[in-house]
């Protein structure tokens, strides 16, 4: 998939995935890959800088969590400012997709 398009949308993807529960980095990237059925994939070099940037901007917060019998992992959850940004991005994205759809579907009809 095109690199620019991917970067623009990834923020929204990450924020949505942790909207209701905290997840660790690998889990997030795996979910994106699985749910997009392999269309969207990330490698370490592209994914973590993004994650850290979100954390730095205060939209998500990472915390080391140790569970019995497991290695400790860094879990990310959505912060209050993150929720606002997610809401805004979601509606922008929906408007954009609707607009694209209206244009492309209209030609065909």
């Amino acid at each position: 998939m095109d690199r620019e398009l991917k970067r623009g949308s990834t923020e929204l993807l990450i924020l949505s995935l942790i909207e209701y529960r905290a997840r660790h980095g690998y889990e997030i990237s795996k979910l994106i890959e699985d749910r997009s059925e392999g269309v969207l994939t990330f490698n370490v070099a592209s994914f973590y800088p993004l994650l850290y940037r979100l954390e730095q901007r205060g939209l998500i917060a990472g915390r080391w969590v140790e569970k019995a019998g497991q290695r400790r992992r860094r879990y990310y959850r959505l912060t209050a400012p993150g929720k606002k940004v997610l809401k805004a991005q979601r509606s922008t994205w929906r408007d954009f997709v609707d607009a694209i759809q209206r244009i492309t579907e209209a030609e065909r009809a």
């Binding site: 690998y26 070099a45 860094r74």
Partner: protein, 914 residues
């Protein structure tokens, strides 16, 4: 599972992240790569393909670029151990917060430390407060350094005559000359403190009065808070009873702070004075330890007493104080006074002086003396004992610090792991010492704060202790900068004493060894044991010093109480009567006195009564010079005038001859009863009865010995028997308006007072009387000795208790440390008794060393105190023996419990613990 951490670390090394951040990033990426690898392997890729792919991902330049934009903005890290000024403050604050947390975690420990220090610092501060008040404080007036007193200096033969007040520096004639001729003072004033009776008859009560010359308040720059002060226009010859100024305290106490006070009058010794002003609240007079109630002009003295000192050329009663001119020093003023001295004394020789007395008088020299600290008899009486007590209380604080140091050492052992961990994590040793000292300082400061509270209570108790019926002590105790410095100094000193050694010890832990050790944290270093032994030995030594001094002073006091004064001390009431308000004609005064005495003798409960001019040991007296025919000339003797029956009343024991009787009437030849010491000194073994002697230089004033009495103490219990001459009131040259009766009774003395008062009231209700008990007065005279004995006794007891606790701690520690050794010895056949002896021997070594050092210290310290002892020497062997025995008992008690614990160790258990 493949570990990517080294790969990741080298890939992101160029970012130079903060160590903690880097560790987090490495861990997170490593987990991610491991999870990815597993997932990829599961999708039929070979391990080699997977690893190559992941390695490529890791070294993608996008990673570094991306991370640099995010995680790089961390602040630069601070290298450990480098402080800039600002950070130092911050770190001290951090240390302090940590110290507070540590103290809260161990409240018991903190409480013990704070309480010990509060007691030690409190005792020291209380004594320092008194010392400060009597010695160091300056007068509460503007520029006190400009004030100086004028008095006779460097004149060994000074002075003969009658002495009034506590500071009898000048006579009326000398004062008048000084006032006219001095040049060094811009203003100079005279004052005379006395007690006058305010009110009428039985209702009257003594008030402390200052008679002052017109410039007195000007010299001191004291401004009135109400009305006006006494001015030169109030002080003129023949002024009579005019105006009076009252002190702020008296105004509040006696007049309830009445704003209309200036309308009122106060009656002093029967003379009404118009109140014309009130002094400001901060001015309590210029005598340290005394306050005043009323001030009246000096000229009123002539009106108040018809035979007072103002008209007597040999009455020393005036104290002079002046304010130096701006460009004059005390030395220059003193030199000017010396220069005019010979003229002044030549012009004022009292007419009654004979040749030698005249010669002495003309040799006197005047000088100026600094009085910024005020005038004080308290100072001369108590300065030395207070310094000594401060030293003793200082020793107590040292012993307490030694105990605390021991406690801190034990705690340092318990905290060895904490110290080891902090060292491992990169703390420097100085940093640890600083932390531990901060903890000690915090405790010391809290202790000091509590100590100040204790000191305030203690010093007030001490002042109450020093006040007697005759002499109320008033001292200004509000803290000043000296007290603050003293207390802070003590706290810091204590911190260093009890905190430094343990802090250094604790910082010397070997982190590796300590962390590996699984024991309870007892490190078995020989150095720490040595330190504890040194502490124990010094405690024993210092306690020994305190115990010896306590015993010396207590025994001195005891000796003084038990010494035979030569007369009966108990069951004697002293009654003072003042007839002056009655205005009796001179001719009837003697008859009136005799009538009063006869009526009192007849009262039920009175065993005997007689009159005397000066009760013994009352600090007042009459000295004179006599010539012995064909014997020594100008001999100092002590005199007293008594009524018939005095020796019997006082049970003084007539050795030979007879007592006075009422047939001894006024005549040129005066009958005298002399003391044994008088006979031994002047007549040797010859029969003294009928022998004559004379007032020095006056062959026409003879005495004839009619009796001899046993030696008695005259001024003080410490003195050796002195020659005393008693003469009779029946032969007195002139009448007197006061009399002092000694009344012996076998019944309760206070109960007797009312019947005496009513008898006196029946004779004339205008008489003024006051009463005291002879024994109480004598004990009051021993106040200094009692104070030193009580306090040093208290400090001695405290020190021994502290030393006992200290010894107990050290021996217990040694027992715990030698547990394995003791177990081994017992396993090899040592009996329990052997172990007991071994531990007690340990104690004996500590005790012996401590006692030897302590005895040496006590000997050298004893020399300083020698002047304050009575009836024993500073190297008194009995005292030393008692002290050694007491310390031995205490050491035995302290070590018995740990020794028995050692002897009951089960060898098997002890060895298994190894």
């Amino acid at each position: 599972m493949l570990d990517w951490r080294n790969e990741i670390r080298s890939a992101i090394a160029v970012l130079k992240l903060q160590a903690t951040r880097e560790a987090e990033v490495v861990e997170e990426l490593n987990q991610h790569l491991q999870d990815r690898r597993e997932a990829m392997l599961a999708s039929n890729l070979t391990a080699r393909q997977v690893d190559e792919a992941l390695m490529q991902e890791l070294h993608d330049p996008a990673l570094i670029a991306g991370l640099r934009a995010t995680v790089r903005s961390e602040p630069p890290s601070q290298p450990a151990g480098h402080d800039s000024g600002e950070q130092l403050l911050g770190r001290i604050w951090m240390d302090l917060r940590y110290a507070v947390r540590v103290s809260i975690l161990n409240p018991g420990f903190a409480l013990v430390v704070i309480l010990s220090l509060a007691l030690g610092i409190g005792a020291n501060t209380a004594i320092f407060q008194l010392l400060n008040a009597v010695r160091l404080r300056v007068l509460p007036v503007p520029k006190p350094e400009q004030l100086a007193a004028v008095r006779i200096v460097d004149s060994p033969h000074c002075c003969t005559g009658d002495f009034y007040s506590n500071h009898p520096d000048l006579t009326t004639d000398i004062w008048n000359q000084v006032r006219q001729q001095q040049q060094g003072f811009s203003k100079i004033a005279a004052w005379y403190p006395t007690r006058l009776n305010a009110g009428h008859g039985i209702e009257s009560r003594p008030v402390s009065t200052l008679m002052v010359s017109g410039d007195f308040f000007d010299v001191l720059s004291v401004q009135p808070s109400l009305g006006r002060m006494i001015s030169p226009s109030d002080d003129y010859r023949g002024c009579g009873a005019q105006g009076a100024v009252v002190s702020s305290g008296f105004w509040r106490r006696e007049f309830g702070g009445d704003p209309e006070i200036l309308e009122r009058k106060i009656t002093l010794d029967g003379h009404p004075f118009q109140i014309m002003g009130v002094t400001p609240p901060n001015f309590s007079g210029i005598e340290v330890g005394r306050t005043f109630d009323v001030a009246i002009p000096l000229c009123a003295e002539a009106t108040i007493s018809t035979k007072g000192p103002s008209r007597d050329p040999v009455a020393w009663w005036i104290t002079a104080i002046g304010r130096l001119k701006p460009d004059w020093t005390v030395e220059r003023a003193s030199a000017q006074l010396t220069a005019i001295s010979s003229g002044i004394f030549a012009a004022t020789v009292p007419p009654q002086f004979d040749g030698p007395a005249r010669k002495d008088y003309l040799s006197f020299r005047l000088g100026a003396v600094r009085v910024a600290n005020g005038f004080s008899t308290l100072r001369s009486n108590y300065q030395e004992p207070l310094w000594l007590l401060l030293c003793l209380s200082g020793l107590v604080l040292l012993i307490a610090c030694a105990n605390l140091a021991n406690l801190m050492l034990a705690r340092a052992s318990a905290r060895e792991r904490e110290m080891a961990v902090r060292l491992t994590l990169g703390a420097s040793r100085p940093r640890l010492i600083r932390q531990l000292l901060t903890e000690s300082l915090l405790l010391a400061l809290l202790g000091a704060a509590a100590g100040v509270g204790i000191a305030n209570i203690l010093s007030r108790l001490l002042i109450t202790y020093l006040s007697t019926q005759q002499d109320q002590v008033f001292l200004e105790l509000t803290p000043d900068w000296r007290i603050v410095c003293f207390v802070t100094g003590l706290a810091v000193l204590a911190t260093v004493l009890f905190g430094l050694a343990p802090a250094i010890r604790a910082s010397q832990v070997e982190p590796g060894a300590t962390l590996k050790a699984t024991g309870r944290g007892f490190s078995a270093s020989g150095e720490s044991v040595l330190l504890r032994r040194v502490l124990a030995v010094s405690q024993v030594a210092l306690s020994m010093v305190l115990l010896v001094s306590a015993l010396l002073f207590v025994r001195t006091f005891q000796n003084l109480i038990l010494v035979d004064a030569g007369f009966q001390q108990g069951q004697i009431l002293i009654a003072n009567f003042d007839y002056s308000p009655l205005k009796l004609p001179e001719a009837s005064q003697m008859a009136f006195k005799r009538e009063l005495l006869t009526r009192i003798q007849a009262l039920p409960g009175v065993a005997a009564a007689a009159e005397t001019l000066y009760p013994p040991l009352s600090q007042a007296g009459w000295d004179g010079n006599v010539d012995i025919p064909d014997g020594p000339q100008r001999q100092d003797v002590r005199l007293s005038r008594v009524s018939p029956g005095y020796f019997e009343t006082m049970k003084m024991g007539l050795v030979s001859g007879r007592d006075f009787n009422y047939t001894d009437t006024p005549a040129p030849l005066r009958k005298a009863v002399v003391s044994r010491a008088f006979v031994v000194k002047f007549f040797g073994k010859a029969n003294p009865l009928g022998r004559m002697f004379y007032d020095s230089g006056n062959r026409d004033q003879p005495y004839q010995v009619i009796g001899v009495v046993n030696d008695t103490k005259y001024y003080s219990l410490r003195e050796d028997p002195a020659p005393i001459v008693f003469v009779s009131f029946t032969q007195a040259n002139g009448p007197q308006e006061r009399s002092t009766l000694m009344i012996r009774s076998n019944e309760s003395l206070p109960a007797l007072i009312s019947s005496i008062e009513s008898t006196a009231g029946q004779m004339n209700p205008g008489m003024v009387s006051d009463f005291s008990v002879l024994k109480t007065q004598i004990l009051d005279g021993l106040l200094r000795e009692r104070l030193v004995a009580t306090l040093s006794g208290f400090f001695g007891a405290l020190a021994t208790v502290l030393a006992m606790v200290g010894l107990y701690g050290v021996i217990s520690y040694l027992v715990v440390k030698r547990r394995n050794e003791i177990g081994l010895r017992m396993a090899l056949g040592a009996k329990r008794v052997d172990i007991l002896v071994m531990i007690l021997r340990e104690t004996a070594t500590l005790l012996g060393t401590g006692l030897a050092i302590g005895a040496a210290l006590a000997f050298s310290a004893g020399k300083i105190a020698a002047a304050m002892l009575y009836g024993l020497r500073s190297r008194d062997p009995l005292t030393l023996a008692i002290a050694v025995a007491a310390m031995a008992v205490i050491a035995l008690v302290a070590s018995l419990a740990p020794a028995r614990r050692a002897a009951s160790i089960d060898p098997m258990t002890a060895l298994r613990e190894e």
